[in-house]
Amino acid sequence: MSQLQVRDLQVTFGGLRAVDGMDFDVAQGEILCLLGPNGAGKSTTLDLICGKTQPTGGSIRFQDTEISRMLEFQRARLGIGRKFQVPSVYKELTVAENLSVARSMKPGIWHALTHPAIRRSSKMQDILDLVGLQDKMGEPAGNLSHGETQWLEIAMLIAQDSRLILMDEPTAGMTIQETERTARIFRSLSANHTLIVVEHDMSFVRTVADRIIVMNQGSKLAEGTIQEIEANEAVKTAYLGH
């Protein structure tokens, strides 16, 4: 049984069909990569799943619940997490506070009113150890280096513990070593999490992807494993233009 089912998904921006009739399924624990030239609708597809954009047609079912009309926070509560293209940590909050915001299993107001801002827990300590920020707990996130900021964002994704994580170009601006490191974290995450990743870096896609969907002009052009995609004639035409 697939965790996410997308059927005939459509969105129109002022006459432009940004996503046009997308159909795909994602199984529990799978890493799906979305590829395609600029403007193919990859990021828009992620926006539609997490609720940033409302679809004009079609359906999105997550764990047998229709979510395409829900608000962002309702989808997040069901277990859909999102990592944006630009690192988005709260710069004015400390590392520990960032993690506390990300730990949102109980996002209700009453729970928030009756609990302290930061609770030391072994899970939080484990996450901080994992990313090596245990000495920086009280530091405002704005003081972190670029690399540390990325570690913090990954820590926040782990703390949020979403079942489905949507990532938009997670390796943009990373060195080769950092990309490899990130790839390894993704593989370890996929034991408990499903991932949909938009990525341009082919070596990264080769390392992590279980399955690839190539998009072009808002619809699905090809789908399959990395070998199948690389052998696909239609994909070559779309990318190379002949």
Binding site: F73, A76, Y90, S100, S104, A117, D126, G147, E148
Partner: protein, 366 residues
């Protein structure tokens, strides 16, 4: 316990000590001098209420004076009825009102009045908040809408002369009788009551800012969009803090009407509402304690200087605001925090943070 919480507790203890022991001793327990100071203390409550919505959640409410005014009118209506005995309040006769208007009736009851002064402002604030925040209105538009509401509400109060006393407001009030205690506003015990209300409001405010609720609000202030993707219902969080802030402003308004012995539409004027913003900014909007201190300091200065510069006081206030905005945007609180950071600065740590490509803990990675 984290350090910021312990600093806040120390700060609050010092503040409460000065307010409850230092100030009365300074004025040698003189009721008339303390009455002026209890006016500042009730204004400190509005200022700290604004710090909750503006400083913590980033919602600049320029209509704070409207909810403050509602509280003051609630209290004044009760006291006016008490002063009128069995008859109608005098101003109603002048306006040809024959019978007591329906909304005045329940204000005979003190319990109703106290609840109304707290809950009506909270409900009105909540209603505006629901419309604004469901529609994801943010930033400067919140300020514009609340300002427009303030102006409209003040006009309404002035226009409804038969109900509100119009431009004159409600004057000639009775003394409040609280649980058989007839409150003399020139007594030391009245000062302690207002001081006690302020300290209680500050404890409540500090509790909120140190709870997860306060943390989520600060996260919303920085990036509301991102916070939604963690599953927080941002509009609800914003609405609740707006309600709480409006309720506290109403409470302060009730105390203010007691101190000045009248309620007037000038409490809901734009200039008064902007003055609250200035007190809050001078003290430091990030801390409820600093905002309260800011209100007391600016009003103290006004009390001393407006005798000397009768016409020029508003100029001085304006210059003060400009200086704060340009040179110390985080107010006195920000200066203290920066000074503390310089004093505590340790020699640079030799231990560098892990670079991004350091191997992970192998146990976690397998």
């Amino acid at each position: 316990m984290n350090t910021r919480l312990s600093y806040d507790i120390i700060g609050l203890t010092l503040f409460a000590g000065v307010i409850l022991f230092g100030v009365p001793a300074l004025f040698s327990y003189d009721g008339f001098e303390l009455n002026t100071f209890s006016r500042y203390l009730s204004l400190a409550i509005v200022s700290m209420a604004l710090a909750l919505s503006w400083g913590t959640a980033g919602l600049l409410n320029l209509g704070q004076a409207a909810t403050f005014g509602m509280g003051s009118y609630a209290m004044a209506m009760h006291l006016k009825l008490k002063a009128s005995g069995d008859g109608l309040p005098d101003f109603m006769g002048w306006n040809n009102v024959e019978t007591l208007p329906l909304i005045w009736g329940p204000f005979q009851s003190l319990t109703f009045t106290l609840l109304a002064g707290l809950l009506i402002p909270a409900a009105v604030g909540g209603l505006i908040a629901i419309f604004m925040f469901r529609a994801r209105i943010a930033g400067v538009f919140v300020a514009i809408i609340t300002l427009a509401f303030l102006v409209a509400f003040q006009l309404l109060v002035i226009e409804q002369q038969g109900l509100t006393g119009g431009q004159n407001g409600l004057t000639g009030l009775a003394q409040l009788v609280l649980f058989g205690w007839k409150i003399d506003i020139y007594s030391v015990s009245f000062y302690y009551m207002v001081g006690g209300c302020l300290v209680a409001a500050l404890i409540f405010g500090l509790y909120l800012t140190h709870s997860k609720f306060g943390l989520v609000l600060r996260a919303i202030r920085e990036d509301a969009e991102r916070t939604r993707y963690f599953g927080y219902n941002v509009a609800n969080y914003q609405t609740v803090i707006f309600c709480i802030s409006a309720g506290l402003a109403g409470w302060a308004g009730m105390l203010y009407a007691l101190v000045l012995e009248f309620a007037s539409p000038t409490y809901m004027s734009v200039s008064f509402s902007l003055a609250i913003v200035i007190w809050c900014a001078v003290g430091g909007r990030e801390s409820v304690l600093a905002a309260a201190v800011g209100a007391i300091l600016v009003n103290l200065a006004e009390g001393r200087l407006s005798d000397v510069f009768v016409e020029g006081w508003h100029m001085i206030l304006g210059v003060m605001f400009l200086v704060v905005v340009m040179f110390m945007p985080r107010g006195i609180y920000g200066l203290l925090v920066d000074a503390g950071r310089v004093l505590r600065r340790k020699p640079a740590s030799t231990k560098e943070a892990l670079p991004f490509d350091t191997p992970l803990n192998p146990k976690q990675e397998s």
